[in-house]
Subunit: 357 residues, 2 copies
């Protein structure tokens, strides 16, 4: 049965990417060898990682602007640590963080090991259902850290404050989904497993000039400069995850890039939020102006409808709609590879509930 995959991550990937990845596991590049049994230093794989790197810069419009692209391991969770390790000064290190959810909070926790932290604002008072707006970023911090999209709570930063220093952003759950002036950020990181590819690699896009200024000794595997010097091959890279990410980036480019996908993502989000608002049985969780176009969180106004609703959407082939335990209700993740048809199926389920309840 055709599935409509609303999983929050790992999540839906383009079908043609899955088919190509599946084929490469048997015979990659016509070598009569599997993708995963050749040397990562073979010309065939080096071409893959170079292409992936190039596609990232091209899609983000960051070519020739002093940025380096890395494909690392360890997830975005490791970047909570690496960003602080590589950017916070050894002496009197200080950084500012905007706390918009679980992931920001975890990033803050790891960075505290390296210096003083200024939490410039937090939306914890309302279970992170909005993005704080009026706050002051101390001018003397080593960097300012934000989370562009809050996967769990369904909020998204639709604008970013102007900060003159180093801007760091965890874009794990909305990278490649919308147009932004990415050159306003000095360090962007993202676990692959939303819009870039399968779990197992982490994208780091970093302006090279911000590195090497902390006075800190950094272990090799945690040092961005070490990985840059070796083109992400300081050690064995996660070959499969990088290859499948490259395929996904290629798919996005062929589709017309970020501008094209943004249009579709806007349509999907509008369709679903419109129904959440219109349908008297449902209410959105997050503040209207901060709604995420990637993860829509909503609840049933009457809990007693949940069994019927769950039966309806499960029978329609929908998958991954349950909300995160810290929010409850439902979460519809509408990443790049999800089609508008899948959103229409969900909207139909919501309307079916309205008729039947």
């Amino acid at each position: 049965m055709k599935k409509h995959n609303f999983s929050a991550g790992p999540c839906i990937l383009p079908q043609e990417v899955l088919v190509k990845a599946s084929e490469a596991l048997i015979n990659f590049d016509g070598l009569d060898l599997s993708l995963i049994e050749i040397s990562h230093r073979s010309p065939n794989f080096v071409a893959v990682i170079e292409k992936a790197r190039h596609l990232v810069l091209e899609l983000l419009n960051l070519e020739g602007k002093g940025y380096q692209v890395l494909f690392l391991q360890g997830g975005a969770s490791s970047q909570f640590l690496l960003s602080a390790y590589n950017l916070m000064k050894d002496q009197n290190g200080k950084a500012a963080y905007l706390n918009t959810g679980t992931w920001s909070s975890k990033a803050i926790k790891e960075a505290k090991l390296f210096g003083e932290l200024a939490e410039v604002a937090s939306s914890k008072d309302k279970n992170f259902n909005y993005i704080p707006k009026d706050y002051i970023i101390p001018s003397d911090v080593d960097y300012f850290h934000t989370t562009s999209n809050n996967t769990i709570y369904g909020t998204q930063m639709h604008s970013f404050p102007e900060f003159n220093g180093i801007n760091v952003c965890d874009m794990s759950s909305d990278i490649f989904s919308r147009s932004l002036d990415f050159s306003k950020f000095d360090l962007i990181y993202a676990g692959a497993q939303k819009n870039m590819g399968p779990a197992g690699t982490t994208l780091v896009v970093v302006k090279e000039s911000i590195l090497g200024n902390t006075g800190r000794t950094i272990p090799s595997m945690l040092d961005y400069q070490v990985h840059i010097a070796k083109d992400s091959m300081f050690n064995t890279p996660p070959v499969f995850a990088v290859y499948t990410s490259m395929l996904t980036l290629e798919w996005l480019k062929d589709l017309g890039g970020i501008k094209a996908i943004e249009k579709i993502n806007n349509q999907k989000a509008q369709l679903l939020y419109q129904e959440i608002d219109r349908n008297p049985l449902f209410t959105g969780v997050s503040a209207t102006e901060d709604r995420s176009k990637m993860n829509a969180t909503f609840t049933l106004n009457n809990e007693s409808h949940s069994d019927l609703f769950d039966t309806i959407w499960e029978e329609a082939g929908i998958n991954g709609l349950n909300g995160h335990r810290s929010v409850g209700g439902y979460r519809a993740s509408m990443y790049n590879a999800l089609t508008i048809e899948s959103v229409e199926v969900l909207v139909n389920c919501m309307q079916e509930l309205e008729r039947k309840a």
Copy 2:
């Protein structure tokens, strides 16, 4: 054309594993969803990682002995760092390392950031072509670190010194290949990409009682105890690499486990080393008593034969035979999934050279 894959890693995996992994990318567990687009917290994937964990303990004969199994990211190179971070005391930390090659040297380099290091012996004087034997391990060190198999130089520890303290071993390139009393080790780590699976996950097998005694604050992602508490799901695991490792472990178990594969590995190694010794055109690189059964390094006695030899083995469908740049010559990696037929093909090529040269 049928390939004979002697790559040093990533390397050959069992054909049936590749086929199953390829199928799971299209439809996993009959879910009508790809393995890489479902939640890592779904019952289907949780069952995979639990099974993989269990298979590791079973194959290593470590069940019920206080060991924990982790599937992490970052490669064995990250474990150079994590082993020291988790085991070296914060105050007056001291560790002993046996230096048997590039990987040991890199492990030593990372550990030096955490305390005093005693290099108990080194074979660097002879480009690591042997395993040092007579050395003293200081009794007051926090742990003693060895590298069981030296992938680059083709040496292997056929016995390990008795050390009463904590024993740490990098088994990246020979784990699951031979019977050992694994319970003599307190911490074993291995990048997956030799005998366990594809690049992208790292196996850690640790005796839980050795943890938590350093007095050091460890960042979450570097803390074995954090990962143990979350069953390797503190953050998103590398789903594909864990799944394919599970398939490979299952294949090994079905084949009869380590005892069965060891017999085959012994036959393969004997066949090749016999030819290296017999054939007047070739010489083995490493000391006879320290020869690795996983990676056989050898050279041509007459460099002028190399073009002809390269043509012969390439035409026979052999892949990945070139030696590492720091050794030169040839390296035949004979990991678990390589069949004896492939070794016979190589031996035939060596004899063909003898006839034609």
